[in-house]
């Protein structure tokens, strides 16, 4: 009950956050800007539907990657700000003077951020379909994959940011989450970006950092029914449990470090 109320308040506060509004505005502008190449590609490949579909997949994948990247930034920043702004303004004192446990407060912040990210993912889903429609194609995929995978991924970013913000300034927390996200992609088996690292460090980072490529919904994105890969449910389950486990560990660490944290300026 208390977690639900505070999560809803967090969600409402995030929707009014000026930085997040600015973030959304920039993002919508970029998306609108990217519709132009989509329309150009469609008119240029009107005589060759197969070539057209190839370009569609490429462009939609690019947009999805962009949207996904924006989402990661949004999840990490919202989570860090949701906790830090309460401490900075002092609203946390009135809330934690109530019979609310500290871990309940953190969990409510996390749930509030996930509510914001759910809105974002639905928006992302609508944009993907709109782009496919403009390109003259129809996305063939399970809607739940396009919803659940990004949510789990953003859940990791948010949980990591919440843990870090219990230890440091939100800007540092945000930066570390971003660095961890980039590093996780560099040490993924499909990437050669971190080949210079010694094998022990490479594999160590791979196991430690959350694998975002494993949790990418673009793995399952297809434009036509023919190219849709059938994925066994066990594979989905493994990937999602992996992601949820990462989030849970970060949240438990956050609850532990926040347990004895001073809430007033020392």
């Amino acid at each position: 009950m208390k977690i639900r109320i505070l999560a809803w308040i967090t969600f409402l506060a995030l929707l009014r956050n000026r930085l997040i509004i600015l973030f959304f505005a920039v993002f919508v502008c970029v998306l609108l800007f990217m519709m132009s190449p989509m329309l150009i590609a469609r008119s240029m490949t009107a005589d060759n539907p197969e070539q057209g579909q190839g370009m569609e997949i490429m462009l939609i994948s690019a947009v999805m990657s962009l949207v996904s990247g924006f989402g990661s930034l949004l999840a990490a920043w919202s989570a860090a700000d949701a906790v830090a702004s309460e401490m900075k303004t002092g609203t946390i004192l009135a809330v934690l003077a109530r019979p609310v446990r500290r871990w309940e407060f953190l969990l409510s912040k996390y749930c509030g951020v996930l509510m914001l990210m759910a809105v974002y993912v639905l928006f992302m889903f609508a944009i993907s379909n709109l782009l496919a429609l403009i390109g003259g194609a129809r996305l063939v995929n399970n809607p739940w994959v396009l919803f659940v995978y990004p949510m789990v991924r953003y859940g990791i970013y948010a949980a990591l940011a919440i843990w870090l913000v219990t230890l440091m300034h939100p800007i540092f927390a945000f930066a570390i989450v971003m660095i961890a996200g980039v590093a996780a992609n560099l040490v993924a088996p499909s990437s050669t970006g971190a080949a210079f690292l010694p094998p022990w460090l490479h594999s160590g980072l791979f196991y430690l950092l959350p694998s975002m490529s494993l949790l990418s919904e673009t793995n399952f994105l297809a434009i036509t029914s023919a190219s849709l890969e059938q994925t066994p449910w066990t594979q989905h389950l493994t990937a999602l449990v992996y992601g949820l486990d990462q989030s849970l560990v970060c949240l438990l660490l956050a609850a532990w470090t926040f347990r004895r944290r001073g809430l007033t300026r020392e």
Binding site: I9, A13, L93, A94, L96, A97, R98, T264, E266
Partner: protein, 307 residues
């Protein structure tokens, strides 16, 4: 009488990470506030009042010593369910309206009542915020925010009310309303722990005071014990000849010639001696009153020299 608040040898040191710098905010602070008492928590700026209140509420942790609040450790949700708290600079979600904020705090307090809307309306009326129900808190004045803060501290029907500077930002009428409110809380058997700089107000409403300075306890006790009633007397006379004035000074009296007449302040033990001398010198005594030290005088005596 059971203790509502117990501080036993509390020490708090602020340390900077990667630095040797240490600030001892509280040193061996011990005091007790009994249930049903109104206790004033006094001290100059930087004395450690806000740190003590933060420890009491479980926002900070002492380095040594023990604190109990309503027989629970600070921060325990069983204690917090019975506490109403007004922070020094009360801040809240500015996009909510007053009733929405009170509703949020009512639900967080876990208090279950049949008609929450009536309770909220009643509290808003009590703090003179009726008529502003649809106004967002972002548009409230400083005084309105303070009034709303007081209302939120009372929404859970607390047994212990902790007020950090409750009259800050309020006009004289608002301050009087807060004093009346504290009186009514006392009559209802609640314990009130309040920090304030306005000593005449504290003197009016408190049963007990705790005075700290530079993180150390200077004085704690019942107000009537602290204010030394009857240690000195005030003698008002119609006139004071040179001879009588000399005699009064010899008796250690303080002479005050004000617009309302001549007053002599003297130790109670020497009053008879002085009065006889004044009579002998032809002065008429028109009034004789015991002098009660004000809290402000006691406070300045205790803290002023140490600052």
């Amino acid at each position: 009488m059971t203790a509502a608040i117990e501080f036993g040898g509390v020490t708090k040191v602020y340390k900077r990470i990667f630095s040797e710098e240490r600030v001892e905010a509280l040193t061996d602070i011990s005091f007790t506030v009994s249930a049903g008492e109104v206790c004033g928590f006094l001290g100059p700026n930087g004395a450690g009042k806000t740190t003590s209140i933060a420890i009491l509420m479980g926002f900070l942790f002492p380095d040594s010593g023990a604190v109990r609040v309503l027989d629970f450790p600070p921060g325990d949700i069983r204690a917090k369910a019975q506490i109403g708290f007004l922070p020094e600079n009360f801040a809240f979600y500015r996009f909510l309206t007053g009733p929405q904020l009170l509703s949020l705090h009512l639900r967080l307090s876990g208090r279950s009542i049949p008609d929450p809307a009536a309770l909220i309306a009643g509290l808003l009326a009590q703090v003179n915020l009726a008529g502003y129900e649809s106004l967002r808190i972002a548009r409230y004045s400083r005084g309105m925010v303070q009034r709303l803060g007081i209302a939120q501290s009372l929404i859970g029907d607390p047994q212990l009310v902790v007020f950090d500077e409750p009259t800050s930002g309020l006009d004289p009428a608002g301050r009087k309303e807060v004093l009346d409110l504290v009186h009514s809380l006392k009559e209802a058997g609640k314990t009130v722990f309040l920090s304030s700089h306005i000593l005449p107000e504290v003197e009016q409403i408190c049963d007990r005071v705790v005075i700290i300075n530079r993180g150390r306890l200077v004085r704690a006790g019942r107000l009537d014990e602290i204010l030394h009633t009857g240690a000195r007397v005030e003698i008002a006379v119609d006139q004071l000849s040179e001879e009588a004035e000399r005699a009064a000074l010899e008796h250690g009296a303080q002479i005050d010639r004000g617009p309302h007449g001549i007053r002599l302040l003297v130790d109670a033990a020497r009053k008879r001696e002085l009065i006889e001398t004044l009579w002998a010198a032809g002065c008429d005594v028109v009034r004789l009153n015991p002098v009660k030290d004000t809290l402000e005088e006691v406070f300045l005596n205790l803290v002023g020299g140490a600052r």
